[in-house]
């Protein structure tokens, strides 16, 4: 019985993620192409899907969400409480000479929502997952799994990169929201239990200082960081040659470039927000 091939046979953009098919190297070009291709498939993931058709990409997103998102909750939770405590002590120490330790909740809420929350979560996800993503893809390249997918006309970006990227895009903002809440709880522990200030006062300062735009900027940062971590780690894994010895190097490079990328992106967003009235 013959059936017509579905449109993906001819409509998909050319598969140019292969290092051997990139005449002009350069990480920026390669990552830019990977980002564009991932956006194409992310868009198709949002399109309506017939209920009786298998959905391996959506199933992959759920699997990755479990590994990259749920798996990081305990780590993020514990770190966030500690970060809240550390921040309160540092700010209170600076304000003590002026007798203003009590207002450290103001600095905490603002700083955690805009800066510490997204950055800490991004660094924890890089430490936990960037090397794993790059190592997995590099190992697949070395074993010929990526070649096997290409020969079968299956785009590795669609089946391997997009599930991880989509999972990171869901997980990082969620983890950032959790981190901000728990850092605030950590701050309360420091202010009320250790420094001995009134809980009601802490909540009042928190309410006065924390604006929706602070949370919005923090979540926007986390979305940028998620894209960056997903693309950089995947690119480092996919661009290795077919050698087992390249796997470790790819994992190391991915952590280094992801950390640098996150810090650079954070700087850029901060500079941008600084000059936009209403966002500071």
């Amino acid at each position: 019985m013959r059936q017509a091939s579905v449109a993906t046979d001819v409509d998909a953009p050319p598969d140019d993620a292969s290092p051997s098919l990139l005449p002009f190297g350069g990480r920026f070009i390669s990552r830019g192409r990977l980002a564009l291709r991932s956006m194409y498939w992310l868009g198709s993931l949002l399109a309506p899907h017939p209920p009786d058709r298998p959905a391996p990409v959506s199933a992959g997103v759920m699997r990755e969400l479990d590994a990259l998102g749920f798996g990081a909750v305990r780590l993020v939770a514990a770190s966030s409480v500690l970060v809240g405590l550390i921040t309160v002590f540092q700010v209170a120490y600076q304000l003590a000479p002026y007798g203003a330790e009590v207002v450290s909740a103001r600095a905490l809420a603002w700083f955690v929502a805009r800066e510490i929350g997204p950055i800490v979560v991004a660094i924890l996800v890089v430490a936990r997952s960037a090397a794993a993503i790059a190592g997995e893809f590099a190992s697949m390249s070395a074993n010929g799994e990526i070649d096997a997918l290409r020969v079968m006309g299956l785009d590795p970006v669609k089946y391997l990169v997009v599930p991880k990227l989509a999972a990171l895009l869901i997980a990082l903002p969620t983890l950032t929201a959790i981190a901000v809440m728990l850092a605030v709880i950590g701050g309360w522990l420091g202010t009320s239990v250790v420094l001995g200030y009134n809980t009601a006062l802490y909540l009042e300062h928190l309410h006065e200082s924390l604006a929706i735009r602070d949370v919005g900027v923090g979540l926007a940062k986390s979305i940028i960081f998620a894209s960056l971590i997903g693309i950089v780690a995947a690119d480092e894994g996919l661009r290795v040659e077919r050698r087992v010895s390249a796997i470790g190097a790819a994992a190391t490079r991915s952590v280094v470039y992801c950390l640098l990328g996150v810090l650079a992106a954070d700087t850029a967003v901060n500079a941008f927000v600084y000059f936009i009235p209403g966002l500071t």
Binding site: M1, R2, Q3, A4, S5, V6, T8, D9, V10, P14, D15, S18, S20, L21, D52, R53, P54, P56, G60, R63, E136, S139, M140, N143, G144, E145, D147, A148, L149, R150, V151, M152, G153, L154, Y159, L160
Partner: protein, 260 residues
């Protein structure tokens, strides 16, 4: 085979399933020089050669996985320039090919069943139930009967190779490329796989290009054999011709390995 795979009509049923003309490459560091061979429809061609003689490069270049320095590849009537492949032609040609890599190259994140289902999901409009049934049937046919819902981790090499074979056959290809079919298998397992290959080829009539350093494949499929040495075809023909080759290297290779 599965009864659901789309089978594009071949452009020319009289043409060979695979034709490689003057293939040299890879472009960045050529190891293969002016290699030509054909595989008739339903037939086989065994490429023999010692390690690093260029067998794997031949497969990769013929599949467009690496850029060739020159040469043309025609798969089931679709030709592409291996040095500057047209993306659409390459995609059409690959659509008619099944490949079993020496490492099996199953996607480690997916179960055996999902590995076999994936080409069906991508290239056909089958529903989930049909895709699952077809993949299960094919896995049974190649001899993988248990634990198809597990990932390939911890699976025996024979079962990995069989699963890779099922995945290669699921879209009813015109030609199947097999790199080192006996790689890492003991004699008994390798024999089992040979029997499965022969049975499936008889049943479904696909062509096979087998690249190996083991001469026994030439004894199993003796009609068309090429011996690669130093990236060139030293001799090509029926196995009997090779045993009386004027090249001592070829005679020694065939006799020594055959005796082993």
């Amino acid at each position: 085979m599965t009864g659901v795979a789309p089978v594009p009509a071949p452009n020319d049923v009289a043409a060979p399933a695979l034709r490689i003309d003057e293939l040299s490459g890879p472009a960045r560091a050529p190891v293969l020089h002016r290699v030509s061979l054909t595989v008739p429809r339903g037939g086989s061609h065994v490429v023999l050669g010692p390690m690093h003689s260029g067998k794997s490069s031949l497969m990769r270049l013929a599949l467009g996985l690496e850029r060739a320095a020159r040469g043309t590849v025609t798969i089931d009537g679709t030709s592409f320039d291996a040095a500057h492949p047209d993306e659409n032609a390459l995609r059409r040609a690959r659509r008619r090919v099944g490949v079993v890599f020496d490492s099996s190259a199953l996607v480690s994140r997916l179960t055996l069943l999902e590995n076999v289902e994936l080409p069906l999901v991508e290239h056909t409009a089958v529903d989930a139930t049909t895709a699952r049934r077809s993949a299960t049937d094919l896995l049974r046919e190649v001899g993988v009967v248990r634990e198809i819902d597990r990932t390939p981790d911890g699976l025996s090499r024979l079962d990995r190779r069989r699963t890779a074979l099922a995945r290669a056959l699921v879209l009813e290809p015109a030609v199947v490329f097999i790199d080192e079919p006996g790689h890492g298998l003991d004699a008994h397992a390798a024999m089992e796989l040979d029997d499965t290959l022969r049975l499936l080829q008889e049943r479904y009539g696909f062509a096979m290009l087998i690249c190996s350093q083991e001469v026994r494949y030439a004894f199993h499929w003796p009609d068309a054999v090429s011996v690669l040495a130093g990236g060139r075809i030293a001799e090509q023909g029926h196995l009997e011709q090779l045993r009386h080759s004027r090249h001592e290297t070829v005679r020694r290779f065939v006799d020594r390995r055959g005796a082993a």
